[in-house]
């Protein structure tokens, strides 16, 4: 453990001492496998992540395994550790990561990549996979960014592609067996690379064409699969779920019970990666969920529970679940938070029961400012639906609205950008038409936010050209000016996202193996905590690209041909490239696609034979 003096000197000692409620202690001499599970960002963010809690719980249910947690030390402790040569340790045992069998790193967003190197370096594990020996832990990545692992492939020994609940047991058994029989690290990695869902980057060879795109991507050995199929839970009601999640001492981002009601999404928004990766939609049984909610509240003592899914309104048993929660939570004085609900009569009614209408705000995510562009992105939300929802909400007493849009979507024109301002203005107008003067509590407050669009792998927009930083900022400027010229401009506040960091995210999202050198370079120059704007240093990144001779535009603004081999093509997430291409063409054609409950689009995911693919379709109503 860190000594008192250090703990008293650093800003948040509570992040490094472990010992939280429901954290798991085991006798290290009685386990075969020690697993360090890492979220490469600060404790407060990492502890808020459901996925880690699921894997932590699952691995600790295995008698032969002890899973512990590790997060990125904040810059104050980072400096102390380097100065005093203290190796990075896991929270539970407070023992060095270097002594573990596995270091699992979850990859939730691209901007954490330099922190991976920090974790490795502070742990004294060689940052490049090729330099590791039998004395080092196996470094395995997982999570959404592992669907394009190539930019960080050289830092990892293995990647787990897909949902974590299914293949770890086999992987650990293989490890135990091969360790016992004295096999080397390389031998183990080779065997692991044959397991479903497990990708071992060193077993594959990439060759490039003269223009820099991929010519071939092939296994080096005959017994290693050319395609890695994602792992997926087929029966969500019958798998691992953390009924005793760890309860942090300090306030973290997500300080509540999280109930994951389903995985996947029926909507098929064309910019959305999660909507494709987790296909098909699978629901958890409502009775199972009620039981989970009850148990988790009891075991944590949290004062809030939140539903988690990509689009909670699509959960078929939602009314029953919410009725139960409202009753149970009222009795226990527990708050319910309901993110990702579509605004309609039902949700407004529910929301008025669970939150203070005067304080809470209404959230719409039209994503694009015009109906034309919303058709391009297949966001089935019309202006009429938004304005009706807003009207009903204003009648119900709400007066704060948050609107989310993206700038830089394919085919976007000036009209679409100005549409953002117009739609914001229309909503304000509805307020003043709906709520009589004497009932108003000041102005309606509309907060319009835009983020910049990043094309992601496994989406129909994976072929799209991304805007440059300058284009992004011009677009934000157009929106800003357009808002200023609206009648109700005083009721609208406009926020936009940083452009530099978006460009970098764009490079990593569709990057290939050439990027790892750039990341290493930038890290060595001091880049760390890139998702924290106070630490993000674009200048150092630009220098690193330059010095490594890697072009940013190649990954962002370049036009990709339909038959280009993408770095992530060797992974199958269940959705076929043909389907994505079809959707890309429909997008350019401004044609919408119905959702999975209306009509199947033949995306490929029906092969799993579960979830929404097996439901009767309703057809498209016009």
């Amino acid at each position: 453990m860190l000594n008192d003096e250090i703990l008293l000197k650093i800003e948040k000692p509570a992040c490094y001492i472990g010992g939280e409620v429901n954290s798991v202690m085991k006798d290290k001499d009685n386990v075969d496998i020690r697993f360090a599970m890492c979220f490469p960002d600060v404790y407060e963010i990492g502890m808020s992540h459901l996925g880690i809690q699921i894997i932590y719980d699952m691995l600790n249910r295995f008698e032969d395994t002890w899973c512990e947690r590790v997060y990125a030390p904040w810059t104050d402790l980072d400096a102390v550790m380097r100065e005093n040569e203290i190796p990075l340790f896991a929270l539970e045992s407070q023992e060095p990561i270097k002594d573990f069998d596995f270091l699992g790193i979850t990859l939730q967003y691209e901007m954490c990549y330099t922190n991976i190197l920090q974790i490795l370096e502070l742990s004294r594990i060689p940052v490049w996979s090729k330099d590791r020996t039998d004395a080092d832990p196996i470094v395995i990545g997982g999570g959404p960014c592992s669907y394009n692992p190539e930019p960080i492939a050289d830092f990892f020994d293995l990647f787990y592609i897909g949902e974590g609940e299914t293949m770890y047991r086999r992987l650990l058994d293989l490890y135990k067996e091969m360790k016992k029989s004295g096999h080397s690290r390389d031998e183990f990695l080779h065997e692991a690379g044959k397991l479903p869902g497990i990708y071992c980057p060193s077993l594959y060879e990439v060759t490039y064409k003269e223009d820099g795109t991929i010519a071939t991507f092939t296994p080096k050995f005959e017994d290693v699969p050319a395609t890695i199929d994602k792992e997926m839970v087929t029966e969500l009601s019958d798998t691992y779920y953390p009924l005793k999640p760890v309860v942090p001492f300090i306030k973290v981002t997500q300080d509540r019970v999280v109930l994951e009601i389903m995985r996947g999404c029926i909507r098929g928004c064309r910019f959305c990666q999660a909507g494709q990766l987790y296909r098909p939609l699978r629901e958890r049984d409502v009775n199972v969920l009620k039981n989970y909610a009850f148990e988790m509240l009891k075991n944590t003592g949290h004062e809030e529970i939140s539903l988690s899914s990509l689009s909670s309104s699509d959960y078929s048993q939602l009314p029953e679940l919410i009725d139960y929660l409202i009753e149970e939570c009222n009795r226990k004085k527990i708050n319910i938070s309901l993110p990702s609900l579509r605004i309609d009569a039902f949700s407004l009614d529910v929301m008025s029961k669970v939150q203070d209408v005067k304080k809470s705000s209404l959230t719409f995510a039209p994503e694009a400012g015009s109906q034309r562009l919303r058709d391009v992105i297949n966001k089935g939300l019309t202006e009429e639906v938004i304005l009706n929802g807003a009207r009903e909400a204003f009648e119900g007493g709400w007066n704060k609205v948050k609107l989310y849009f993206m700038l830089g979507l394919p085919t976007e024109t000036r009209d679409d950008m100005e549409g953002i301002a117009k739609l914001s203005n229309e909503i304000a107008k509805v307020y003043y038409e709906t709520v009589p003067k004497e009932k108003r509590q000041g102005r309606v407050q509309i907060v319009t936010s835009t983020s910049f669009f990043v094309p992601k792998p496994f989406t129909p927009f994976q072929w799209a050209q991304m805007s440059t930083k300058e284009e992004f900022l011009d677009k934000a400027y157009i929106v800003k000016e357009a808002i200023k010229s609206q009648l109700n401009q005083k009721s609208i506040k406009y926020n936009w996202h940083e452009a530099d960091v978006t460009v970098l995210e764009g490079v990593f999202a569709r990057g290939d193996r050439k990027i790892s050198e750039v990341i290493y370079h930038a890290y060595k120059k001091g880049c760390l905590f890139d998702s924290w704007s106070e630490y993000f240093n674009n200048e150092l990144w630009l220098q690193s690209f330059e010095e490594c001779g890697v072009s940013i535009d190649f990954y962002t603004t370049r036009k990709r041909s339909e038959d280009e081999i993408f770095p992530w093509d060797f992974i199958s997430c269940g959705v076929s490239k043909e389907f994505l291409l079809r959707e890309w063409k429909k997008a350019l054609d401004e044609t919408i696609s119905p959702n999975c409950r209306q009509a199947c689009q033949g995306c490929g995911a029906s092969g799993y034979g579960v979830g929404v693919c097996t439901e009767e379709k309703t057809g498209v109503s016009l």
């Binding site: 008192d4 703990l7 008293l8 000692p13 509570a14 001492i17 010992g19 001492f249 306030k251 944590t300």
Partner: protein, 236 residues
């Protein structure tokens, strides 16, 4: 609603959990232990819970107190056991007492606190610590400058130090000082001033401080009679 006074201790790594986080910790613990705690009314009800005297980060304690309201209760032991079952290592519920109707709340009843202070290995005092304690206390007044939000002000420590002794065998200082909201004295502050009196200076990490107990005064101002805060409550 019945009022309970809960005494707990705090040791080990838990000393790094600050006061606000301890409050959050206990709010969640009440739910885990299924204590029938009372809630305030209003749109976002909160638990009826108040703490006696906040403890600084880094300080261990054998005598922390909080008051809670409950709507029902089987016995004080039942609550004590239920809470102890959901505690983390380092925090123990020492006693649960029912307060009389008219009892003053924990925070305003605090009059004094007793601390023991030992020395970190590499910061053992290199002078006779015991030698000058009596001279120090015999001064007419012990004037110190205290930093406040409004600037600095001069105060006399003497009336706020009730006892100050050194046990040369155990090598610990023991100190009973004012902990009331109007005259709260930090033990390290007294140590620093004493070091200064001896012509020495104390470093930031010299001392390991434990609060031994927190007291209320059931005597008078002139003739104080300090008793632990849970003295005023009874078993149920």
């Amino acid at each position: 609603m019945m009022k309970l006074r809960i005494k707990f201790s705090k040791h080990g790594p838990m000393v790094f959990i600050g006061h606000l986080d301890m409050m959050r910790y206990f709010q969640k613990a009440m739910r885990r232990a299924e204590v029938d705690i009372s809630y305030s009314s209003g749109f976002s009800p909160h638990q009826i819970m108040s703490f006696a005297a906040p403890l600084g980060v880094g300080i261990a304690s054998n005598g922390e107190y909080m008051d809670i309201g409950v709507d029902s209760l089987t016995s004080s032991d039942q609550i004590k056991d239920a809470l102890n079952r959901v505690m983390v290592e380092g925090v123990t519920i020492e006693s649960v007492k029912v307060l009389p109707e008219n009892a003053e709340n924990a925070m305003s009843s605090v009059a004094a606190a007793k601390y023991t202070i030992s020395f970190r290995e590499k910061y053992r005092p290199n002078f006779d610590l015991f030698g000058q304690i009596n001279d120090y206390l015999d001064q007419e007044c012990i004037l110190v400058t205290k930093e406040t939000k409004k600037g600095t002000k001069e105060i006399d420590l003497k009336p706020h130090i009730y006892s100050f002794t050194f046990d040369p065998d155990k090598k610990v200082v023991s100190m009973l000082v004012d902990a009331s909201s109007s005259g709260n004295i930090k033990p390290v502050f007294v140590m620093e001033d004493y070091y200064k009196y001896c012509g020495k200076s104390a470093g930031e990490f010299d001392f390991i401080v434990t609060r031994e107990d927190t007291y209320t005064n059931i005597g008078t101002d002139e003739m104080p009679n300090f008793v632990p805060l849970d003295y005023v409550g009874e078993d149920y």
